[in-house]
């Protein structure tokens, strides 16, 4: 079974967008292009406002991903958990489609008796360990996020630690919004290691606006760029993957 490469956008924000396209629509667009959008809402001691909460859930829902609102202190554990959960969810979807072809109709894993689910789960587990993963991290650097950024950096390094324990290949990219000149700014190009963030992150300046929608749109094009660039290379890899399954 070949699920190809899993593509995820990980949005880290603390509230409401206030500029450009509707982020919920942009997330739906991402989903249509086969990219999952996960959202993590970072709270202070006070709770996040209702509207922000709604937006966070809305983006993840239409982006086919997972959302979670947390206090800054527990960010690291949440980031890796959300990413993993979304991976499993996507892989389960892939496996379900495969099952439907075999069993016919609209059967999913849940329709199987519990005794038979085990083997399906083993396949999902195995895929989760070996599948190629691309995560584009979108960090909200609007003024209110300023003092949470060191924690965000820690959480991203931690994510890289978790995912690099897998045997599958990882690629990470990091965008921040708003950027210095544009709505969105690329901070880190596709790389298997996020460690290089350490030197860049503290230099960030934070602005007032929060263009979440445009940020997601920009992130989408970035996945496409990558695909066309690496077209030849990845074809080789995929062949190998198919044979090995």
């Amino acid at each position: 079974m070949n699920p190809g490469t899993l593509k995820q956008i990980l949005l880290i924000t603390d509230g409401c967008s206030n500029q450009g396209e509707d982020p919920v629509a942009m997330a739906a667009l991402a989903r249509e292009s086969g990219i999952t959008v996960n959202v993590i809402g970072v709270m202070e001691q006070d709770t996040i406002d209702e509207q922000g909460m709604k937006e966070i859930e809305g983006i993840a829902m239409s982006g086919g991903g997972v959302s979670q609102v947390v206090y800054a202190q527990s960010l690291s554990q949440t980031v890796q958990m959300v990413t993993r959960k979304a991976m499993t969810q996507t892989l389960q979807g892939v496996v379900n489609r495969e099952l439907q072809q075999i069993l016919g109709g609209s059967k999913t894993v849940e329709d199987l008796p519990p005794e038979q689910r085990g083997e399906v789960m083993e396949v999902v587990d195995e895929l989760g360990e070996t599948v190629k993963l691309e995560v584009l991290v979108l960090v909200d650097t609007s003024a209110s996020m300023k003092h949470k950024l060191p924690t965000v950096k820690e959480a991203l390094l931690d994510l890289s630690l978790s995912l690099n324990a897998r045997s599958g290949n990882n690629q990470f990219g990091v965008f921040v919004f708003p950027g210095k000149k544009n709505d969105v700014e690329k901070l880190l190009d596709w790389t298997p290691h996020l460690e290089s963030l350490t030197s860049i992150f503290p230099k960030l300046t934070t602005g007032g606006i929060t263009p979440t929608g445009p940020a997601i749109r920009e992130a989408l094009t970035y996945f496409k760029k990558k695909r066309s660039l690496r077209g030849l290379l990845s074809r080789d890899d995929e062949q190998y993957f198919e044979e090995s399954m």
């Binding site: 979670q68 947390v70 527990s74 690291s76 554990q77 949440t78 958990m81 993993r84 499993t88 389960q92 894993v109 849940e110 008796p113 519990p114 005794e115 689910r117 085990g118 399906v120 789960m121 083993e122 999902v124 587990d125 360990e129 931690d158 630690l161 978790s162 995912l163 690099n164 324990a165 897998r166 045997s167």
Partner: protein
């Protein structure tokens, strides 16, 4: 940190009756035992036995844990994890809730037990835990989310048992679930690959945890901070070497760490040393501390120190009269 929707979905009052869709078994909820990232666990009545039921709206995590428990069941005469009784779905309010039924392990968790029964139990329980981990590692697993909350002491006689196999991972893969304080990756002391050394790191942190029941925050991280935390607690000094070894991944197996702990305890009960440490009257505090540091010095020194200590002791008593 479970989703609020899941929490509400799986909240049931005592007396609720669960009937499985596939096997038609009937369980009566008695009370909630606890909840966590993956679901809620209830105590329930099944015929005339008490059982624990873990339920979640995420069928995947239930199936995954069931896989682990089934594999544990194949290990003869072992007590790895609770034994599995049933797996089923329950349709309630148009929702499908997956659940599994397991042996109810009655007893306090590790830290509560130690605080009730005394620190003297730490070694016994850790030795039991290390044997279980050894078996588990031999079978190709790593427990993963090892922490005091996931260790229940049943009995009497007291016997430690691991619950919550949500983090249990096949060796060589990425650890499925962990808790920061017990995770070597968090402290910058290793990867999150499932290896026996990963669990042994957590065992060391659990021992340290007995002296810091509220845990502590990461400051500088790494060996420097952990070594310092150990040094700050006198009760941990006797384990210092073992802890440092485990924290740095120097034990190849749980068995090796277990043997080392056993040896360390046996050497501790030698009569000469206990006679030194017992004399803790006020004027001799500095003397005993020196004696502690020079533990390896041999009999002559020990003898001299006892002489000095006794002399000062008599002198002290004399001056009181």
């Amino acid at each position: 940190m479970m989703n609020s929707t899941l929490k509400n979905l799986c909240r049931f009052v005592p007396g609720t009756i669960i009937i499985g869709k596939w096997h038609q078994n009937r369980y009566t909820i008695l009370k909630e035992l606890g909840s966590g990232a993956n679901g809620i666990v209830y105590l329930a009545q099944f015929h005339n036995q008490k059982v624990a039921i873990k339920m979640s709206d995420n069928g995947m995590s239930i199936t995954s844990e069931v896989n682990v428990l089934k594999s544990f069941a194949k290990v003869q005469g072992s007590s790895l994890g609770p034994s599995l009784i049933d797996v089923d779905d329950w349709v309630v309010k148009n929702h499908n809730i997956s659940f599994y039924v397991m042996e109810y392990i009655a007893g306090p968790d590790f830290l509560s037990f130690i605080s009730q029964k005394g620190k003297g139990w730490t070694e016994v329980l850790i030795l039991q835990l290390l044997s279980d981990l050894h078996t588990l590692h031999e079978k190709g697993w790593v427990f993963g989310d090892l922490k005091p909350e996931n260790l229940i002491v049943m009995g009497p006689p007291p016997r430690i048992r691991c619950i919550d196999v949500g983090g249990t991972t096949i060796q060589g893969r990425a650890i499925k679930e962990f808790t920061e304080f017990y995770d070597r990756g968090y402290w910058g002391l290793g990867s999150r690959k499932a290896e026996p050394t990963y669990d042994l790191f957590a065992v060391a942190m659990i021992i340290i945890n007995t002296e810091y029941p509220k845990r502590f925050n990461k400051t500088s991280g790494g060996m420097n901070q952990l070594r310092e935390q150990i040094r700050q607690k006198t009760a941990l000094h006797k384990y210092e070497r073992i802890l440092t070894n485990a924290l740095q991944g120097r034990y190849q197996s749980a068995q090796e760490m277990r043997m080392d702990l056993l040896n360390c305890m046996n050497s501790q009960t030698s009569p000469a040393q206990s006679s030194v440490t017992k004399r803790q009257t006020r004027p001799t505090v500095t003397q005993t501390r020196q004696a502690y540091r020079k533990k390896k010095g041999g009999w002559v020194e020990t003898f001299l120190i006892i002489m000095v200590v006794s002399f000062l002791y008599f002198f002290y008593i004399y001056s009181q009269v």
